[in-house]
């Protein structure tokens, strides 16, 4: 087999992964706090290829990483008092059984003990511990800076943290981000909490549909190249191999 086939194949493998990522973006177009992803590719010149007398560099396509777009999603007013959105850079801190996690999905609620939790029941952290509300004390009001008050009295503080490099985060599912590096989260200074709002997913469906078409066509044309290459070698064999 010659290089054309292998190079084409490398592109097709990457295209399939790109499709997986676009599919995930579209499936989560309606998930609060979801952040768009896209595949980054690179030309790998270092990879050894079968170069039977071919001098030109053979360049494979490699998947280089997933770029995550942390831009602000649109705001959606829900009116529910425990729906919180972060306006600006920052994350809520959530304590799960697997350790500390970060999220921008602010669909919180109270559990049976009055603790502020995510929809999976993991505690939202604030002021070095959990946040406990008393439903009998009346309406909950949460300030831009995260101060929670009930009946005019401060009852807690929601932590919003940020990272110097967002590349430290990887996705954990359930709208949570995990920090596997030793970059420490810092208190967010510019972020504002908006009560009664939710941050939509920042997936722009129109762009994603365009990406779908793009991936489909690219796959198609690569596949064409492969057919033509195979055709070429078949014809060469037929002509050169003819006895007469």
């Amino acid at each position: 087999m010659d290089n054309t086939m292998y190079v084409s194949l490398s592109r097709q493998v990457v295209l399939r992964r790109e499709l997986d990522i676009v599919a995930n973006n579209i499936a989560n177009a309606d998930t609060a706090g979801f952040k768009l992803e896209d595949m980054m590719t690179r030309a790998d010149k270092a990879a050894p290829a079968m170069t039977s007398g071919v001098k030109s560099p053979v360049t494979f396509v490699m998947d280089d990483g997933v770029a995550r777009d942390f831009r602000q999603g649109g705001m959606n007013k829900t009116g529910a008092p425990l729906d919180l959105a972060i306006d600006g850079r920052g994350f809520f801190k959530v304590s799960t059984v697997a350790g500390e996690r970060y999220t921008r999905d602010g669909r919180f609620k109270m559990d049976d003990t009055g603790k502020l939790v995510t929809q999976d029941g993991d505690a939202v952290e604030g002021g070095g511990g959990n946040i406990v509300l008393d439903a009998a004390k009346g309406a909950v009001s949460i300030s831009e800076g995260g101060v929670i008050s009930q009946a005019g009295q401060k009852v807690g503080q929601i932590d919003v943290v940020n990272f110097d490099s967002l590349a430290a985060l990887s996705k954990d599912g359930r709208n949570l981000f995990r920090n596997d590096t030793n970059i420490q989260p810092q208190p967010a200074t510019t972020a504002k909490i908006r009560q009664g709002m939710l941050e939509n997913s920042n997936v722009q469906t129109l762009t994603q549909i365009t990406r779908l078409v793009e991936i489909n066509r690219a796959y198609d044309s690569i596949s064409n190249i492969m057919t033509q290459t195979s055709d070429l070698s078949r014809r060469s064999i037929q002509r050169l191999g003819a006895v007469n």
Binding site: D20, A29, D112, S170, T205
Partner: protein, 262 residues
């Protein structure tokens, strides 16, 4: 192909979203109904190359890694328990709760259920019952010959009778409150049951601290907002369509791969 399965999770989630929205719209005129919202979460990510991994012997690291998500799932269906508007009915047995609290209802099975629907009426023995005939707890009996029933904001029930100048007190209504109202277990018939997520019921008289007041002659309308439900329906439909587009694309790519001539 992962993309096919991912798109299928997206379609299933949007289908559930439409089911929740249609239930909200169907119950737009149900007394005491609280709207619901389907909440979505992304599924687990498959890590192909983890961020921060070393990419060479000289210590360069992969900045972001390759993580591919598996789609979406419905995390929970959350009940938004905000107050519905009150509608004047003029019926003296109708009550709306303004603020927190639920009426207690004794089910035929002996269990206690909770409801916000205050469209009550007396049964053949003069006891206050729900439209299904279940007794409201604590039992209130309206004596025969009552000309008018007066229910105070704090839940005191008085009956005025012909030939008497002052009405007589016939009972005191109590409301149940929960720490987490969203965690109540819906039973249909406007009834809810206590669950592990809701916490135990606390009984108190209407109008006491943290408990709503009663409003006689009114019912609480559902808190469904038609415009936002229709908007949500449009968004759900488009999201469903787009996921089906992914299925089509994945299918076409598989067909293309199958058509490569050897």
């Amino acid at each position: 192909m992962q993309a096919l399965r991912t798109a299928a999770t997206g379609m299933a989630a949007q289908q559930m979203n439409v089911e929740v929205i249609s239930n909200n719209i169907a119950n737009m005129n149900t007394i005491g109904f609280k709207r619901q919202r389907a909440e979505f979460e992304d599924l687990l990510y498959q890590t192909m190359e983890s961020p921060g991994a070393q990419s060479s012997n000289t210590g360069t690291i992969v900045p972001t890694g390759v993580q591919i998500g598996g789609g979406v799932k419905a995390g929970s269906v959350y009940r938004i328990t905000e107050q519905g508007s009150t509608t004047a009915t003029g019926n003296q047995y109708d009550m709306a709760i303004q603020g927190r609290g639920y009426f207690q209802v004794l089910l035929p099975s002996g269990e206690t259920a909770y409801t916000r629907a205050g469209n009550l009426s007396p049964n053949d023995q003069g006891q206050l019952v729900t439209p299904d005939g279940y007794l409201v707890q604590p039992t209130i009996s309206i004596p025969q010959g009552t000309t008018q029933v007066i229910i105070s904001k704090t839940g005191q029930v008085q009956a005025a009778q012909a030939g008497q100048t002052a009405p007589t007190v016939v009972g005191q209504l109590q409301l149940a409150t929960f720490l987490n109202e969203g965690g109540l277990d819906a039973q249909g018939d406007n009834l809810f049951m206590e669950s592990a997520a809701s916490g135990a019921a606390t009984l108190a008289s209407p109008g006491s601290t943290g408990v709503g007041q009663l409003l006689q002659g009114y019912t609480e309308a559902s808190n469904v907002d038609a415009v936002s439900e229709i908007t949500a329906l449009i968004i759900a439909q488009r999201a469903y369509e787009m996921n089906s587009k992914v299925v089509t694309t994945a299918d076409q790519m598989l067909a293309t791969a199958a058509q490569v001539k050897p």
